[in-house]
């Protein structure tokens, strides 16, 4: 960081006209990110925002930081190159469910496997918006869209579970409508060393309106969602009268009262991998509430740190590279 400049939200607002549809969930996410960036202790010039293709991937143009709007699905590879080139950058990757889970699936899993210190914000609206309404790899099976008039036949990916399976070291979920929750998650992601994956449920009000309304409507949201709080029992419900217990190897909802008390409930622990796997499975499941918060966090060495370490070791072992010695080796001869 160059000097102690106090940054404000407006420092991160670019002069470009925003081209998202009015009412799109993307506005709320942009707002939350612009509000969070000033507070995370990174100099403005050290932010790099990289994206792929899709509605969400317009994001870098609206951020007054260094930005790279790239090609479909490839943002993880571009972000990796930039981060490895200059590890002091704070790299943020903006992607969508089509960009990251479909065309860019390969790059996505390998980014997580390598644990390069990059923050991935995946806007999941469960639809292709920019191409005007085809089903995506996170759309529920049977989805009727322009390309599936009789219902889609593919089973969806559960992104947080895919991230677990890829060796992800920070896996969280948040939602466009909750600015405060987003901010908290982004800060935690920034503090995490390694790849941070954040799935953001985002409403596409044109092609998949209401996809998450059960999770956001006042009447239903408290009974259909659960906030994960570290070291706290898994309680939810409008009257905080429901909880999650372990039943065999499965999770089960119980009423707190006669048979079960708070002390019978599972306690959330983001460091517990087995629990995290079960929490991930609380998705596309009508019997369980949808979890929001940090599902999993693990301290693991990052690729970028190890790369620098290896380079330093090599300099120590061989001395700094000398071009002349490299070219004029022992096996030379002279013609005179």
């Amino acid at each position: 960081m160059s000097e102690n400049v106090v940054l404000k939200k407006k420092d991160f607002v670019s002069d470009q006209e925003i081209r998202w549809c009015p009412g799109c969930g993307d506005y709320a996410i942009l707002n939350a990110v612009q509000k969070t960036f000033p507070d995370i202790g990174v100099a403005k010039e050290d932010f790099l925002v990289v994206s792929g293709i899709g509605c969400s991937s317009r994001f870098p143009y609206y951020m007054n930081t260094f930005g790279f709007h790239s090609i479909h699905g490839r943002a993880p590879a571009i972000a990796s190159g930039a981060k490895l080139s200059n590890p002091s950058l704070s790299v943020w990757l903006i992607t969508g469910d089509g960009d990251a889970m479909s065309i860019g699936g390969n790059h996505f899993i390998h980014l997580l496997r390598r644990n390069i210190d990059i923050n991935v914000l995946m806007f999941n609206n469960r639809i292709y918006g920019l191409t005007k309404g085809q089903y995506s790899p996170t759309s529920e099976i049977g989805k009727v869209t322009k390309s599936t008039p009789n219902g889609s036949l593919d089973f969806p990916f559960n992104p947080v579970l895919l991230a677990m399976g890829s060796g992800g070291t920070f896996i969280a979920r948040t939602i466009d409508k909750d600015l405060k929750h987003q901010g908290g998650i982004y800060k935690e992601a920034n503090d995490h060393k390694g790849t941070s994956f954040i799935e953001i449920y985002q409403n596409c009000n044109i092609f998949n309106d209401g996809a998450f309304s059960i999770l956001t409507d006042r009447e239903t949201k408290l009974d259909s969602t659960i906030r994960l709080v570290q070291d706290q029992p898994m309680v939810f419900g409008a009257n905080l009268d429901k909880g999650i217990i372990l039943d065999g190897f499965n999770l089960k909802v119980v009423n707190i009262g006669e048979k079960y008390s708070i002390s019978d409930l599972l306690v959330h622990n983001k460091k517990d991998k087995n629990l995290a796997m079960l929490v991930c499975e609380m998705t596309y499941n009508d019997l369980l509430p949808t979890p929001f918060g940090v599902i999993y966090a693990e301290e693991k060495r990052t690729y970028d740190d190890m790369l620098i370490e290896q380079m330093e070791q090599q300099i120590k072992a061989k001395g700094p590279g000398n071009l002349k010695d490299l070219i004029y080796t022992k096996n030379t001869w002279t013609v005179s």
Partner: protein, 445 residues
Amino acid sequence: MLYWLYERDLESTIKFLEEKFKSKPEIVKANIKALKTGYFYGETVEVIKTTFRVPEARLEKGTYRNIMGNECLSLGLIAAAEKAKLNLFFGGYPITPASDILHILSKYKNFGIKTFQAEDEIAGMCSVLGAAFAGDLAITASSGPGIALKGEAIGLGVITELPVVVINIQRGGPSTGLPTKTEQSDLNQAMYGRNGECPAVVIACQSPSDCFETAFTACKIALEFMVPVMLLSDGYIANGSEPWKLPDLDKLEDIKTRVIKKKSGDAFLPYDRDEKTLARPWGLPGTKDLEHRIGGLEKANITGNVSYDPDNHDTMVKLRQKKIDIIADYIPEAKVFGNEKGKLLVLGWGGPYGAIRSAVIKCNQEKREVSHLHLKHIHPFPKNLASILSNFDKVLVPEINLGQLSNIIRSKYMIDTINFNRVSGKPFTSPDIYDKILKTLKGEE
């Protein structure tokens, strides 16, 4: 036995063995014993009446070492990074016959070289774009099928005007083709293998020892003109070995990057160009006040903002081509070997250099009017190429493809050319070319 047959000295090989098996003295001993036994056997049995004496090759004065193409090329990249005062970033995916470049560069981390074995060819190319944006000399290497996968990302490099070098060690195609055999059939791919009007610089190595200079030049052009450069080599050059006259490192040209440290006006304008070279400035992430966005959508000239303006698109399409054409003012003029005028010019590029040159030398010794021009710069061509071509009655173009350079020459200069094409996965031999020259001179083409 062979050492005896060709009257070769054992000393250098003994030294090599001692070095190679330093830690295993018994293996050194055994090998030296076997070597000497064979030699003395040849000397003693007196069965073979003939020995051969290969005269010492006539080489220019200088210090030499034997080198293979891919190694020589890698050293050229390292030298360019040093001259440009940049770190070298290499991102790539293993593929025959290009993997050696990844192997070689990965050994030199103490030079500040970062190598990244990506998950696929596309990621290799994209990591290079990210590293170029962040300020490294960024390079990828592959072969035809890999380059095909990289195509879209190379296009992103063209529209974002980032300095990257894309190396293609060509092999037999199409598809998986002949991975271990040589071919020159990716020239069209280098020139045209992307969507849209998507010009890139194309430059070609001609022999193992030439790879150093060509790789250096490719990096210099990429960095000074802010363009992707396609560097063509092939399996024959990559795995071939020859004496390399070591360059005088003090005389290597400087490389002046377009990195800027401070904004000059109110705002940093990422597409505000150098008047002469049209190269845009390189504002690196981490530099105060240079925040800007680039990307694959059409850019407004000067500001770099997204633009759908019809006239701007027309301007930018033409500008991207002009950026390449302008480079012709900065590269050396083509130099003909032999007479600058005459009956026949053999025009080549890439791997067939040696075969063509020997055939032309033989013809000249026989007083036949034949000259040779070997092109290193293919896009853009050297400025004097048109006038050279017009000085010859006939132009013969031998290529290990179906006439890809020949077609470009024909369409650009409206001249007739005589093709000589054989695509067998093998390099041309000098007699192949010699026979074709004689036929051409006789008018039997």
